[in-house]
Amino acid sequence: MTFMGFVFSAIALAAALGVVFNRNPLYSAFSLIVQLLAMAGLYSVLGAHFLAVTQVVVYAGAIMVLVLFVLMLLNLKSESGRKLGIVKPLVALGVGFSVVATVFPAVVAQFKDISLMTLQENLWKSEGGVKAIGQEIYGRYIVQFELSSLVLLIGIVGAIMLSKRKRIVIGPREGGLGGKQ
């Protein structure tokens, strides 16, 4: 694992912690952006240059912008006081630890001695990665590709529908969904 890989991993980890433990959602959004960029870096270290670029464009660019937009729209202050108490962190640690504990040993046992096959570098380089992925996507995975476009369409329509509906105030006054239509 190259030096750059370690750097990017460290940044990603730090940013991840930042996302979770930051009081102000805005700051956690920014640290998420940093984390996404670090991941892009890692992809390129692994040789998936096209993915790195798409990561930056789609993830960091589009999705995080949307998130920031929503954050700004709702101008949320930082969480009002930490009502976490001791239960939640303990449970969280338990969850995190259990996820790692169950999967990691299995993976280690399985793959510890298999070295990363150095793909014929030329395959990636010559086709610059993009050509190879393009052939894959439009070749074997064409059906999935079309389906994903359908998913996107539905996503858009859904978002519009959700936001168009009149305001239904559930809050304590109304008590129940029968608000003014």
């Binding site: 998936a48 589009a62 999705i63 998130v67 929503v70 709702l74 993976v107 859904g158």
Partner: protein, 100 residues
């Protein structure tokens, strides 16, 4: 040491952190972001394995994951906004009407 273990280890930790974030944070948007982070962890694993296997299937999977993540974020944020509109708060604990 260019074995895949470190990458998988990293993606696992990221995934765990995302999971912890989802559990702890009460703000819906932060939860949403943590989910995104978990997705990224998985993408990393995909790419690592694609490199290990030497074919591009992993990378195509990541590509599709990104597409899905995009659609999901659109819908997720729309939901969060409509929840905010009716509950005037984004705390997950406030949207607890659907209980026994």
């Amino acid at each position: 040491m260019s074995s895949i273990v470190t990458y998988i280890g990293l993606s696992l930790v990221l995934f765990a952190i995302g999971a912890v974030g989802v559990c702890i944070r009460r703000n819906a948007i932060v939860v949403f972001m943590c989910i995104e982070m978990m997705l990224n962890a998985v993408n990393l694993a995909f790419v690592a394995f694609s490199k290990l296997q030497g074919n591009l299937d992993g990378q195509v999977a990541v590509f599709f994951v990104m597409v899905i993540a995009a659609a999901e974020s659109a819908i997720g944020l729309a939901v969060i906004i409509s929840v905010f509109r009716s509950l005037v708060s984004v705390e997950t604990s406030d949207a607890a009407q659907l209980k026994w």
